[in-house]
């Protein structure tokens, strides 16, 4: 099913991002971003709010196009694919949105069944079995008749996770899977990501600013800020050798190499201006 993480002892990259430049509303988000996601790994992408983590996932999924540089998934250049090619690739990657993005007019069962019904001609009995298996994996087989509005945030995210894996993808991207959850649900999600990664032989990309959770499940971590990767490595390596910046981020200190302020003109200039000089 999955081609494993090593070929002749060398790690194979599932996702290769090379020299990606991207700006939004004239503000550069990425300036030469390079990173690899090894196949079969859980790779964490850490970074402060607004650095472009969601943007990165959208670039990998082909929803956004970089101004320069390439993104390869399984060796295929995402932004050179035809529409059909891109859609075929997307069927092999699942994405878990920050909000879950469940279809509000379908119940839990139909939400999970949705990709199957859209993309396959499986008989209804088989669809039922597949959906129940996936719901069982996330522990929500009993919630199959609930509507999305009746789910808690954590449940919605688990349903979305079941839906993301229903087509047996080779890769799943998680956008902020831990945000806004209580500690127990957080732990459940952490465990699920790890478990699914092993059981299904997935490659997982976990985007987050929750340092502790990401450190606890990731095999590799890339820390991004200021338009590029500023540190990468295994969690242990990062803890040992992290730069001042990385340490500030990991320990959660309010000010340091990462400024507390959004870029602005000098403070006194702006204050003086207000006096109508």
């Amino acid at each position: 099913m999955n081609d494993g993480s090593s070929m002749g002892g060398r790690t194979v990259a599932r996702v290769e991002v090379r020299d990606v430049h991207f700006s939004r509303a004239g503000r550069p988000i990425f300036r030469g971003l390079d990173l690899d996601v090894p196949a079969g790994s859980v790779t964490g992408i850490l970074g402060p709010s607004g650095t472009g983590k969601t943007t990165l996932l959208n670039l990998i999924g082909g929803r956004l196009r970089p101004a320069r540089g390439t993104v390869r998934v399984d060796g295929q250049d995402v932004h050179r694919l035809s529409r059909g090619g891109l859609y075929a690739l997307r069927k092999r990657m699942g994405m878990l949105f920050q909000s879950g993005a469940l279809l509000t007019d379908l119940n839990v069962f139909d939400n999970v069944a949705f990709p199957l019904r859209e993309h396959t001609r499986l008989p209804e009995a088989l669809i039922r079995d597949v959906v129940l298996i996936k719901l069982e994996m996330v522990g929500l087989r009993g919630a199959r008749d609930l509507m999305p509005a009746e789910l808690s945030g954590g449940m919605a995210r688990r349903v979305a996770l079941a839906r993301a894996i229903v087509l047996d993808p080779v890769m799943v991207m998680y956008d902020e899977p831990f945000t806004g959850l209580d500690p127990i649900t957080k732990a459940v999600i952490v465990q699920l990501i790890r478990k699914l990664n092993q059981a299904l032989g997935l490659t997982s990309i976990v985007v987050s600013h929750d340092v502790a959770e990401t450190f606890s499940i990731a095999d590799y971590i890339h820390v991004i800020a200021e338009g590029g990767v500023i540190a990468s490595g295994t969690p242990d390596a990062l803890r040992e050798t992290g730069s001042a910046w990385v340490r500030q981020f990991i320990q959660g200190l309010p000010d340091g190499p990462v400024p507390f302020h959004y870029p602005a003109r000098p403070y006194y200039e702006e204050l003086l201006e207000g006096q109508g000089a």
Partner: protein
Amino acid sequence: MIGWLQLLGRWSLGRVARLGRGHLFLVRTLASLPHLVLRPRLVIRELFSVGVLSLLIIVVSGGFVGFVLGLQGYVTLVRFGAEESLGVVVALSLVRELGPVVSALLFAGRAGSALTAEIGLMKSTEQLAGLEMMAVDPIERVVAPRFLAGFLAMPLLAALFSAVGVWGGYFVGSGLLGVDSGAFWSQMQSQVDFHDDVVNGIIKSVVFGFVASWIAVFEGYDAVPTSEGVGRATTRTVVNTALAVLGLDFILTALMFGNF
């Protein structure tokens, strides 16, 4: 001065860009209509919700407009002793003008705004992005069935509006004001031309249905994905549809009935 010009320039550029997006969007929507042949159930579901949403308001408004036409027509006609022609006046006003125009305005207020809000909310809650990532084209799956349903429902609603209106005019004219019922119907039958009046009215409602549905789905799809943005998009749907329908009505009327 320069700042003002700059603002005007930015505003016009924004307008032109939106117009361009709107047309590209329409092309993509029309291009995905053939897919719906294989999945009629998607359209039927939307047809049901668009139609049912508007049914009550169309019937009630059609009735009242008919009542008023009956009253006003009678008051004017009776001065010339021509109250027998009330049926003609009521039917022509409804079939040619009021049916298509008023039902398009009501459609925008009821179904159009609901379509915009629905699609806009799907955008702001990442459902559309989610569909894209599941390799499902939101235009094909979400937009096109709604557009088609609105387009198909509009002429039916306009016809219903006119029919109820005629009945309302008859109720007031014949039932309350004592116009001869035989004259009411026979004059209507002889004076209302199928091609010139009925078909032209249907053409109008088809055009209005196209424009109203297009505006409704586009405003939703193009909405700023926040609750405020969706609210504004809903308002824009109603305003833009009203303007477009009234403007087009003038053009179509001139083309159909103005002997240039």
